[in-house]
Symmetry: C2
Subunit: 178 residues, 2 copies
DNA sequence: TTTACATTTCGTTCTTTTCCGAAATTTCCG
DNA sequence: CGGAAATTTCGGAAAAGAACGAAATGTAAA
């Protein structure tokens, strides 16, 4: 950590805290930040050394980060050790995270809501309100899901273009959607 | 908990787990789910009883949920105790959460990135790549921030309309944005 | 103002999660 | 194959976070 430029150190620490707030652990987020800021792929040894973590811990975190699809394993010629590099396009990176969170959390939630709604085979009167709330949540998730699946299909440059249009885009759609 | 319809119990439990995954604690998320599914506002006492939690714990969670702007305190005539009800419009609810997360996490991150970029007063050669990465992240966050601030200004019904257009909306914009 | 009820604060305990390090396994070069 | 290097697994220690409950504070009706 002391070997890093202060500017990098500061960011890595902050990124770690953000990780915690989003249900990712500190270590994983820090490793990700380190790789993101690193020009060359790093091996596990270097990561332990820099961030002062146990080797095993780093190993697990790297696996996990690969599962999120935001870092990938690369082999450097003449070096037996695995090296890792982060996605560098920030836009792509957040898109990958979003897709993965959808898969891990939104999809199961929608399934559960459907289960709840099916399950109550004999619709008791007391359930009426609960069912109504769940229906409305289901509707929301389905809409969101449908929308994001469209977004996934778009290329990053198109999305950036839309985002840059900002209010112009939304106004346009707001008017035409009527 | 045993007093609840099974359908509600199931959802509350799941919502609690989702909370954990998103950096919200289980208790808070469960209380939120309970209020969301409840037709009438509930008081703290009832919440403890139903979810089997300590009174103090519930008190803190309720404060916290109010801070997120997704539940609010209401007074029932003839009852001295505070009662709480959840926002019921799911769309509005997630919008409130998004706005709050932006305020708590995205804004500070952007500030930190700016700090990093300013701080390194004497731009050392070794910082060059790090600065470049931070710049690109800054660009992304600014774009996202700008976009969401536009979204915040839109009415919920307009947003729903846009979302329902799905790919049609995006295609339209994708074509026009060129 | 008193008093009874309601809420919050705060230090402690308990649970969960993270992290470590030794041992086992895998990989791949000779 | 044999063996050195690298990685992963796994049980337990350490740290962090959540939840408790007693005491303090606040509140509003009498």
């Amino acid at each position: 950590m002391e070997t890093l430029p202060p500017i990098a150190r500061k960011f890595i620490l902050h990124w770690g805290e953000m990780g915690v707030r989003w249900g990712i652990n500190r270590t994983m987020a820090q490793i990700h930040a380190l790789l993101f800021l690193s020009e060359e792929p790093l091996n596990a040894e270097v990561i332990c050394g820099t961030l002062d973590l146990a080797r095993s811990n780093v190993s697990v975190a790297l696996k996990d980060l690969q599962g999120w699809g935001i870092i990938k394993l690369v082999h450097l010629t003449g070096d037996r050790r695995d090296h890792f590099e982060s996605m560098k396009d920030v836009f792509e990176m957040f898109r990958a995270i979003a897709i993965e969170r959808k898969r891990r959390e939104v999809d199961p939630t929608l399934r559960l809501i459907n289960d709840c709604l099916d399950d109550s085979g004999k619709p008791k009167a007391s359930d009426a309100y609960v069912r109504e709330r769940l229906e409305s949540m289901k509707e929301f998730f389905e809409l969101a899901l449908n929308f994001t699946s469209q977004v996934e299909r778009m290329s990053t440059p198109s999305l950036v273009r839309v985002a840059k249009m900002g209010d112009k885009a939304l106004k346009l759609l707001g008017l035409m959607g009527g």
